[in-house]
Amino acid sequence: MSTAVTESAAQQTLSRASAWARRAPLLPALIFMIIITQLPFVATLVISFIHWNALYPNDIGFDWFSNYAAVFTDSSMLKSVLTTVFLTVGVVLISLVIGLLVAVLLDRRFWGRGFVRTIMIAPFLIVPVAAALVWKHAIFNPSYGLLNGTLTWIWGLFGKADSAPQPDWVSAHPLGAVDAALIWQWTPFMMLILLAGLQSRPLDVIEAARIDGATEWQVFRHMTLPHLRQYLELAALLGCIYIVQNFDAVFTITSGGLGTANLPYTIYQTFFEAHDYGQASAAGVVVVIGSMILATFVLRTVSSLLREESR
């Protein structure tokens, strides 16, 4: 009897000790991770309340919300907010629609499906700066870009190669040019999420609907699309978060000129050209808060997805 008691007590201390033995090596990793991911942001937050322009090193001091006031009254900042919204909404919507079409296609079985899927994810994993350079030079260039080359070729078919229109795409449609490059890059991301959604559909129910005489379109409209709703939301929100932060494409294709300066690019300018560290940090915090609001929606979508899966 008494041996049993001591045994169980010993077991308890043993299990507690082993629990700590298991946890202890993990703590440094967690702490390191929290420090390295959170500390710079805390520093940004602090600087955003400080009046600090590197050009006037003697004039540094705590300044409450004046940097934030400057962010919300500065006309170039406000304009860049609008640009960011247009850029993000355009890219997300169009890449979502194309991504859905491609996902529906890749959900079917056909010979070479694996190959098409591989090719499809390549644009997403390619160096973004290189992708932007390719679009800027190889596609949009007025004298030897692919677009104008194609126009010349089509006009050439009718024997009028010299009179083919040769627009300068980037100067004529700067935002459209950035949009196109980003859509090309982000469609695969949307497609992957939507394909995962398509493949988690309950196939027996769809089969039953088909047997009951539902057309392909009816199945898609009334069964697939409602099922995909959460996946569409998730893809759109994640896309928004990443594209709001986009810097590479804007920097490479237009260098922020011609009305394409989005918020990250303007912050970059405030930092490196105006040297206004305080205001740059405040604008950065505004971007973070905007992203966080989006992120809470993402988290909600993810958790409702998980709940549905476990049901």
Binding site: L146, L234, F251
Partner: protein, 292 residues
């Protein structure tokens, strides 16, 4: 009798419909492949074209030459593409190794051990992956200037770890959740210590997941541009910075064909990586993106 008579016509109709639909599928598939590959194709074709024929828009390779690659790799005009490739490799490898070491422990903790504030820790990590890099530029720039780290490797590696780590932990946690943990218990009952059980049973099983995460971490480090462009020097700049600031023999004129050659050099390793590991990459991307 009537059904027997009907069947062949029905079959023929459905066969022809199926054939038509598979032709449509094929046409769409070809359009997708073209849409994805044309920019690459044109980059490669331009990169092999003689500089004198830059404005030739023949859709297939003409005036093939390797001069552009020689120009791209030469250091004569202040470009350091060769060095930059090495730098990207050093930075990418360091970031991947450190992020995986820390990330594996953290992911194990998050998927296996119940503790208070777990939800908050996960939320904070997810949140960190959504911070825009540009918001961290000011303190990083200031900090590294103060401690004299500007232009060093560690000034590039440490911020990148902070970007890559959330992604690593996130992907690994979702993989580890689906591991057969009963095996670990079984190993411990058979007399393994928990460290042994982890090393001999769980780690080999988790290897594919860790490998997938490593590929994704490396790619995301290889692609980073904004932070590197500000915190690197000529000696430590990675490929993204090198090709964005590419200069040619003539001032004020962008060396298009050489830029395309440089683009090809930088892109090819990743394309090969993607082609070899595509199944794993897809698994990793969807695990991180959807399953949470």
């Amino acid at each position: 009798m009537t059904t027997a008579a009907l069947e062949p016509t029905v079959n023929r109709a459905s066969v022809s419909r199926r054939r038509w639909s598979s032709i449509r599928t094929w046409i769409s598939a070809i359009i997708i492949v073209l849409w994805c590959l044309l920019p690459f194709y044109w980059m490669v074709v331009t990169s092999f074209r003689d500089v004198g024929y830059t404005f030739d828009t023949t859709p297939w390779p003409t005036h093939v030459t390797l001069d552009n690659y020689v120009t791209a790799l030469s250091t004569h005009w202040g470009n350091h593409l060769g060095k930059a490739l090495l730098n990207s490799l050093i930075i990418g490898a360091s970031v991947t190794i450190i992020a995986l070491l820390v990330g594996t422990f953290a992911a194990y903790a998050l998927s296996r051990i119940e503790f208070r504030f777990k939800g908050i820790v996960l939320g904070v990590i997810m949140g960190a992956s959504m911070f825009p890099g540009v918001a961290l530029l000011t303190p990083l720039f200031q900090l590294f200037t103060n401690i004299g780290w500007m232009g060093t490797y560690q000034a590039l590696i440490i911020p990148e770890i902070s970007f890559v780590l959330p992604l690593t932990v996130y992907t690994l946690t979702s993989f580890l959740r689906e591991m057969p943990w009963d095996l670990e218990e079984a190993a411990r009952i058979d007399g393994c210590t928990s460290a042994q059980a982890f090393r001999k049973v769980i780690l080999p099983l988790a290897a594919p997941a860790v490998f997938t995460t490593a590929i994704l971490a490396f790619i995301s480090s290889w692609n980073e541009f904004l932070i590197s462009s500000q915190l690197s020097s000529d000696k430590t700049q990675p490929v993204t910075v090198a090709i964005a600031s590419f200069t040619g023999s003539l001032p004020h004129q962008e060396p298009y064909t050489a830029v395309m050659a440089a683009g090809t050099i930088v892109t090819v390793p990743l394309v090969i990586l993607v082609l070899i590991f595509q199944r794993r990459i897809v698994a990793g991307l969807t695990a991180g993106g959807v399953k949470g």
